[in-house]
């Protein structure tokens, strides 16, 4: 009796396993499960039939049926998982993208090259101990000229090509130097400031002139400061900003608000001193004007010019940006063509 039961059960298992193998979807597996393990299923009928067996055979028969039941349940579950898995992979396959297609970007904005250069310049000077100050673009003649030792009729004043406001004794600052005056008027020595800002000249626009442009001005006044400090600070700046191998040349010049005055040239970045169009064949590029603060300037703000000395310098931001990025025409900075602006992404 037990033997025939065992045979029947084994046959059932083989049949079910064969059917599962060919089952091509979850519905078919479910149908097999119901037909085998359901309330009216083949195996369920065998289980029910155990009650009719003599008591001595029942335990063994029960064990047999349960073992087959476990085995079939496992086989069905395995097949179900199998089928579900391939279903998912079919879906995933259908969802595949061509990842080489263009992305959807939110379109973050870019920084203007003059801002980048200004920030980089300020960064170098901050590390030397300067802090940043600013002032108005509309200025008084006193701050822009008189306090800077440029009295009316001074040739330098004539050369500045100043833009004046109508009907007022005010002008658009021709340089950032009036910020020096404002800083000294409002503080006690020592002062160590850099002043970035927009300045104005009555120049007709061309490739190298714009009636508005930007400067950075620096001022360091305290006891015991000499031309030698100026030289260190500016040569150090060139090395930090343009590279440690860039040669510099420091030569005398003239500005009404510094005495002695000088200009700092640096080796041409394009030809490395060999001479090219950018440096007009000289191998040198004029970078900035500088000098020891004129005693008359210190006296104009009521500081003791015997006790305090200091240096000041100023340079054009556009010029530095043109050199750094190879911009051929100053007007490009103010045209604001996005095809220009977006080239500065990430710089």
């Amino acid at each position: 009796m037990t033997e025939s039961l065992r045979e029947r059960l084994e046959q059932l298992r083989r049949e079910v396993e064969r059917e599962l193998e060919t089952a091509n979807g979850p519905a078919r597996v479910e149908e097999i499960r119901v037909r085998t393990l359901g309330k009216k299923g083949a195996l369920t009928a065998e289980a029910k039939a155990i009650g009719a067996l003599p008591p001595a055979e029942r335990p063994e028969a029960g064990e047999l049926v349960n073992a087959i039941k476990d085995a079939l349940e496992a086989a069905i579950a395995a097949r179900e998982a199998d089928l579900a898995g391939s279903e998912l992979s079919r879906r995933l396959e259908a969802e595949a993208l061509d990842v080489t297609l263009p992305a959807r970007r939110r379109g973050q904005g870019t920084r203007h090259p003059l801002s980048i250069v200004t920030a980089d310049l300020l960064d170098v000077f901050r590390r030397m101990g300067f802090s940043v100050a600013s002032g108005p673009e509309v200025e008084t003649p006193w701050h822009n000229f008189e306090a800077l030792n440029i009295p009316a009729g001074h040739p330098a004043r004539e050369e500045m090509d100043t833009i004046y406001l109508a009907g007022r004794d005010l002008l658009l600052r021709t340089h950032t130097s009036p910020v020096q005056i404002r800083v000294m008027e409002s503080r006690e020595p020592p002062v160590r400031v850099v002043c970035p800002g927009r300045v104005f000249r009555s120049d007709t626009p061309d490739a190298s002139h714009s009636p508005y442009f930007h400067q950075i001005e620096g001022l360091w006044v305290e006891e015991g400061i000499s031309l030698a400090h100026l030289k260190w600070a500016l040569v150090e700046f060139v090395h930090q900003f343009f590279g440690p191998d860039v040669d510099t040349r420091f030569r005398p010049s003239y500005f009404p608000f510094t005495e002695p005055s000088g200009e700092l040239d640096m080796q041409c970045l394009l030809c490395r001193g060999g001479g090219c169009r950018t440096c007009k064949g000289t191998g040198w590029l004029e970078l900035l004007g500088c000098g020891m603060v004129h005693p008359a300037v210190l006296e104009a703000v009521g500081w003791d010019s015997e006790r305090y000395t200091g240096f000041a310098w100023g340079m054009g931001v556009e010029r530095v940006a043109m050199l750094k990025y190879g911009v051929p025409d100053i007007r490009m900075f103010f045209e604001n063509d996005v095809r220009f602006l977006r080239q500065f992404e990430g710089r």
């Binding site: 263009p102 379109g107 406001l165 009907g167 000499s226 031309l227 030569r251 005693p295």
Partner: protein
């Protein structure tokens, strides 16, 4: 300024420049503070061209247009075929001998021309690359050449082997605007003293004072005035050597008299003016201020209106020149002039620059007077030029100068130079002997020794006024290169990044995060900055604008940004968002008010183009308002308020005034009025915002962070039917004011107007979120919602849809 190397050499003993080629001289001058921008040959190179005289000329046997010449160049006559129509027997020409090499790598060979042998060529000026010296027509006779020059190299005779130094003279160094001025700078470099040109003046005839006199009335404008009479002259062209000198430094030869005055100016720095003496009524010169309303015709034939601060040179009847600026047409020296009155005067720099500005008449002379000329120079320059004019024109110089000298005090200023001060300023000491040598080389007088030198300033160095100036003179001759580099003292506390720059940096980051590219736009705008016909009372006007159209300062950055948007849209950009942080200007209460602002402007697609969205959504007002809120939230944690605005240049129904939480005005945002946008060249919708930054700067102090509920939230949606005129902000405020104890958030989720709501009304969908520290029951929430609805019905007559 262009300076001739050969001309400079004439101030020094022969051989002084042997170790100083022009390039080296240029380098040394640059290192000394006279920046030499360029050194180049004065004239094109050629070789083998000598001076030759045509001693015979006859027709060519085989050609009508050719001339057969016999040319004597010192070593026997040679036959030369010449194609020029202007061969003159007896004239001296540049003769390119066989084997000579002309500019453009042209070589002259023995040749047969139409069957006749020709040994070389007679040259035209263009063939020698000397167009500026000779005419373009035919061969070029060398003016002033002598018998003894025959066979000499043309380059030597004319002095063509020269280099030109282009010197950028700083505005304080009026004294350096001449060869003499540069030569003074060279004494230190060359190591020997210069000598002034020797004046060989032969005076003859009736003394000048018998026929002319000078009176200065305007001593401020013209403290010194001298003149000489040169008579019996024949005005002609200058000799070739003089023309060459002038052309080399960029001056155009005119006539011998004019060329000599220019020569004296370029040599010594003193501008001179020659008058035709016959035209000086009464032989009398009066220097006075122009009269109010006086008019005068200058050399260039233009009549000019004068003003009293202009100095006029007059004769006994009328003005004859604008002093130091330009002569008059009537008294100009011309071909028929036989007597010249040569003026050499000193004019006040300030008055001259004012006159130049008034009259718009810059000239070589006025530029020099404006920068300052050595007040002691007039006599020397006058004598030098008078002698030269007499020599070149065959005239004679009448004995004596006439003149008037009203200079108050001519004492040289004396300045103390302390060696301690030198070291304090330069950072390195200088030996007193060294300082003395440098100053003396520049013409300063020096006394004293240990510790302090007393320096007397030469008359031409009017720019040197105080100790620092003298220190610079010594330092620049010593050379800045020898100044050591000494590190700056470290400040006690390294400066923090200051609040304001950091704020501006954050602001820029916030704007860029919202997709705005940073722009940099002009400060100048036209009167239509805010649309045609908009009032200009509050615009700040420029007196001397670059362009008449743009004569105001921008009242909004957004207006100049908008132009940049238009520029890009026209060039095909589908999405442009620009921002700028900068200054804007307005007149308020009669005063100019300058504020720091951020301007934002946007037009086109909301997002960058993407293939998944073939029809991109357009940027709109809500995007703009969101960008404004984002920027303010990021930089300052600020939630601004938006109120309906009424600015005429913005869309009447799509603009808002932006206020801070305390009700302070912060700016504006909105769509630009389409009519105004079109004026700016933009046909698409254009959005702008502008925020005044003066009130901002530090992130808002929002206190400690708050706890939040860990219990599930309960939501209720309401659709209120409200009159069209009721703004959303007011409704939201009313909801908040109802004071529901567990209401955490209110959000607008829908807005509807149409057939489902009564006319003149709209429906506003609100999602209320309730949160509490306990589990909220539906009953609790319902009770609160009911309370809200009752209140809205009672106070505002709102219904639920």
């Amino acid at each position: 300024m262009k300076v001739s190397y050969r001309w400079l050499a004439t101030f020094f003993p022969a051989g002084a420049f042997d170790d100083l080629p022009a390039e080296e001289l240029g380098r040394r001058l640059t290192a000394q503070g006279l920046a030499v921008d360029d050194v180049r040959p004065a004239f094109p190179t050629f070789e083998g061209v000598v001076l030759g005289r045509v001693i015979e000329a006859g027709p060519h046997p085989n050609a009508d247009r050719l001339t057969l010449c016999s040319v004597e160049a010192g070593d026997g006559a040679r036959q030369v075929v010449c194609g020029a129509p202007n061969v003159e027997v007896g004239a001296i020409y540049g003769y390119a001998t066989v084997g000579s090499r002309l500019p453009g790598d042209r070589q002259i060979r023995r040749a047969k021309i139409r069957g006749v042998e020709s040994l070389g060529m007679l040259c035209s000026a263009p063939e020698l690359g000397l167009d500026a010296l000779g005419g373009a027509e035919g061969i070029w006779p060398i003016a002033g050449a002598r018998e003894s020059d025959l066979g000499r190299d043309l380059r030597d005779v004319l002095g063509l082997d020269d280099a030109i130094l282009e010197i950028d003279v700083t505005s304080n160094r009026g004294d350096a605007l001449s060869h003499l001025g540069i030569a003074r700078e060279l004494q230190w470099i060359v190591g020997s003293d210069l000598s002034l040109p020797v004046v060989e003046l032969e005076e003859r005839g009736e003394p000048a004072s018998a026929r002319a006199d000078v009176e200065i009335e305007d001593a401020e404008g013209c403290p010194r005035y001298f003149g000489r009479i040169i008579e019996r002259i024949v005005v002609g062209t200058s000799p070739a050597w003089l023309q060459t000198r002038l052309v080399a430094v960029g001056q155009r030869p005119v006539s011998d008299v004019v060329d000599v005055t220019n020569h004296a100016m370029l040599e010594l720095g003193q501008p001179l003016h020659p008058f035709d003496f016959e035209r000086i009524a009464g032989g009398r010169i009066v220097v006075r201020r122009a009269k109010e309303g006086e008019r005068f015709v200058t050399l260039d034939g233009r009549e000019r209106a004068l003003e009293p601060d202009i100095t006029m040179i007059c004769d006994s009847e009328k003005p004859v020149a604008v002093g130091g600026v330009m002569g008059g047409l009537d008294s100009e020296v011309g071909p028929g002039t036989t007597t010249v009155f040569l003026e050499s005067a000193h004019f006040d720099p300030t008055r001259i620059s004012r006159a130049v500005r008034r009259l718009g008449l810059p000239s070589e002379a006025s530029t020099r007077f404006a920068r300052g000329v050595d007040p002691e120079l007039p006599e020397l320059a006058l004598d030098r030029a008078a002698a030269m004019i007499a020599a070149l024109t065959g005239g004679t110089v009448a004995p004596g100068r006439v003149g008037d000298d009203r200079r108050a005090g001519s004492g040289r200023s004396r300045i103390e130079l302390r060696s301690t001060r030198y070291e304090a300023l330069i950072g390195v000491p200088v030996a007193p002997a060294e300082a003395r040598a440098a100053l003396e080389a520049l013409g300063f007088g020096v006394e004293g020794g240990e510790g302090t030198l007393t320096v007397s300033v030469p008359s031409w160095r009017f720019d040197v006024c105080r100790e620092a100036d003298v220190i610079e003179e010594v330092a620049r001759l010593e050379g800045y290169e020898i100044v050591p580099a000494i590190p700056l003292p470290t400040p006690p506390v390294a400066p923090a990044i200051e609040a304001r720059p950091r704020f501006l940096e954050r602001l820029s980051e916030a704007a860029r995060a919202s997709g705005f590219d940073e722009a940099c736009t002009p400060s100048f705008v036209g009167q239509d900055a805010l649309g045609k016909g908009s009032p200009i009372d509050n615009l700040v006007e420029i007196r001397n604008p670059i362009s008449k159209a743009d004569r105001f300062l921008r009242p909004f950055i957004a207006t100049t940004l908008a132009r940049a948007i238009g520029h890009n849209r026209k060039r095909g950009a589908e999405r442009v968002k620009l921002f700028e942080i900068g200054h804007a200007f307005a007149v308020q209460g009669g005063e100019v008010v300058e504020t720091e602002r951020i301007g934002l402007a946007a037009s086109g697609a909301r997002f960058p183009a993407h293939w998944s969205r073939p029809d991109p959504e357009e940027y709109d007002f809500w995007d703009l308002k969101g960008d404004v809120e984002d920027v303010l939230a990021i930089v300052a944690g600020l939630s601004p308020r938006f109120l309906t605005g009424v600015r005429p240049w913005l869309h009447p129904g799509r603009q808002a005034e932006v206020e801070g939480p305390g009700g302070e005005a912060m700016g504006v945002c909105g769509e630009v009025h389409p009519a105004v946008a079109r004026e700016w060249g933009i046909d698409e919708r254009l959005f702008v915002a502008e925020l005044d930054l003066s009130g901002l700067g530090t992130p808002a102090d929002r206190g400690r962070v708050a706890e939040w509920s860990r219990e599930p939230a309960v939501e209720r949606d309401l659709a209120l039917v409200v009159p069209t005129g009721d703004a959303a902000a007011g409704i939201l405020a009313a909801v908040q004011e109802a004071g529901l104890e567990d209401l955490a958030r209110v959000r607008v989720f829908d807005r509807y107007a149409g057939p489902q709501v009564p006319a003149g009304h709209y429906s506003l969908g609100l999602r209320l979120t309730f949160e509490a520290d306990r589990t909220l029951t539906d009953e609790e929430v319902d009770e609160q919602v009911k309370r809200l609805l009752d209140r809205l019905r009672e106070e505002r007559n709102y219904e639920i849809r």
